[in-house]
Symmetry: C2
Subunit: 235 residues, 2 copies
DNA sequence: GATTGAAGTATTGTTCAACAATCCAACGAG
DNA sequence: CTCGTTGGATTGTTGAACAATACTTCAATC
């Protein structure tokens, strides 16, 4: 109680980027690894192995785990360990319900279109096209994520942005449980471009309508693939 | 690799409530304490003191801290410690932007009203009235939170619910930095009742319109109070 | 007097090692 | 084949130690 005045500094906040702690760096690493599919959904993340692999102590690793649990990328079971989240069909439904709530109103009632936010939408469209031309299908998926992230960004709320980011990361996990992430995103590229065109032309209602159809179609496709995968049981 | 098959059990998930770990229990305690205002916004949470107070080790406490940081209830500064979040006017704007994105569409496009969700709205209204009659002004605020939580619940997404819960917890912090949480919520009680009435009558558009005005008014009131507090500086 | 710089101190960041608690697999009895 | 028991492996939690950093203090200088 003597070394500090116990009060947060009001002025100089966010001047220089607060260098991340070890735990946050580890969490970032694991997050990318999980999203990229380096660890299969449902697989266990061994403390002992990851400690050694990442060169950090168990305590630090566990701090990182807590962060990922809160992002729903991994689940934690007492005395069993942490596992890469294995999304269910119900999760898919919930994820799309959340996306509808976030994306549709963002598109429909973007009162002042927020030039930079709209520009981000356009950039994502271009990114998708470039990735397709290269044959980088995983990149196409990434661009698609960026597109929808940009749509949610029209809301103009940093918290919404962050939430959307997590929703999309989870969605990405869904694609990993299906074995066909190849040309899965391809047909959606043109759809994205159409939505963007409608947006810049100012027809928000039409854009929202297109987006809604998009979401319905995508969800149904995923659910179908999911149920087909759950029923026969590959084991 | 021998004691477990490294795969998460597909069936029996969520059968019995997974008893919370120590870190989660500590986080829950601290969360409530922060929301209830036991620790003033901007105040530091000393590791050493809390360790002793809660009877847990530093490592466990730090795990709990990570959870609260991710919920934005506390901020973490390297080598300085964790502080109860001191919201800024900008935070208030962002919080209300997020609430607009969540609550308005939930009210407006609640296609099938979801009977139990709508019932929760009614219960929050009653709860608020009861708290006012008792003179429990903090309880009135709690009921108000429940009301808006229930509105967001009309979306029917568990993830939206959880996100809304965090948004409201943060909003609660905002009220702590102002010294007048007494009859601040009182005028909003009737507003809530009116919105609920419109909802059960099926006039979603009118309900959304009322809600929008509500949010605009509330935000402006908070921002005004905030700027008045920041300008003169009580120190 | 105000600013700068250099100790010294307090607090956090991270690791390590130990033990308790629990789960899992394998085994054996009925 | 089913059901307990046992043993091994993994996680849950603690405590202490040391390194790294920020804050305070105080003296020196302009």
């Amino acid at each position: 109680m003597t070394a500090t005045d116990d009060r947060i500094g009001r002025p100089n906040r966010r001047l220089l980027p607060p260098l991340p702690s070890q735990a946050e760096r580890v969490a970032e690493l694991l997050r990318e690894a999980v999203i990229d599919g380096d660890h299969p959904p449902g697989g266990r993340l061994s403390e002992e192995r990851l400690c050694e692999e990442l060169g950090v102590s168990r305590n630090t690793l566990r701090e990182a785990f807590r962060l990922l649990v809160r992002e729903r990328l991994v689940v934690h079971q007492m005395h069993r360990g942490v596992f890469v989240t294995l999304p269910t069909a119900e999760d898919v439904r919930d994820l799309f319900a959340a996306r509808r709530s976030l994306e549709l109103p963002a598109v429909q009632r973007a009162a002042d279109p927020a030039p930079e936010a709209l520009e981000a939408v356009g950039r994502a469209v271009e990114e998708g096209g470039a990735a397709r031309d290269t044959g980088d299908w995983w990149g196409v998926g990434t661009a698609n994520m960026h597109f929808h992230q940009a749509l949610a960004g029209l809301s103009g709320s940093a918290r919404i942005d962050e939430f959307m980011s997590r929703i999309l990361a989870e969605t990405r996990l869904v694609f990993h449980v299906m074995d066909a992430p190849r040309e899965f995103h391809a047909p959606y590229l043109d759809w994205n471009r159409r939505i963007h065109t409608l947006l810049v032309s100012g027809d928000r209602t039409a854009a929202a309508s297109e987006l809604e159809t998009y979401l319905d179609t995508s969800e149904e496709q995923l659910i179908t693939a999911f149920l087909a995968r759950e029923a026969p049981g590959p084991a």
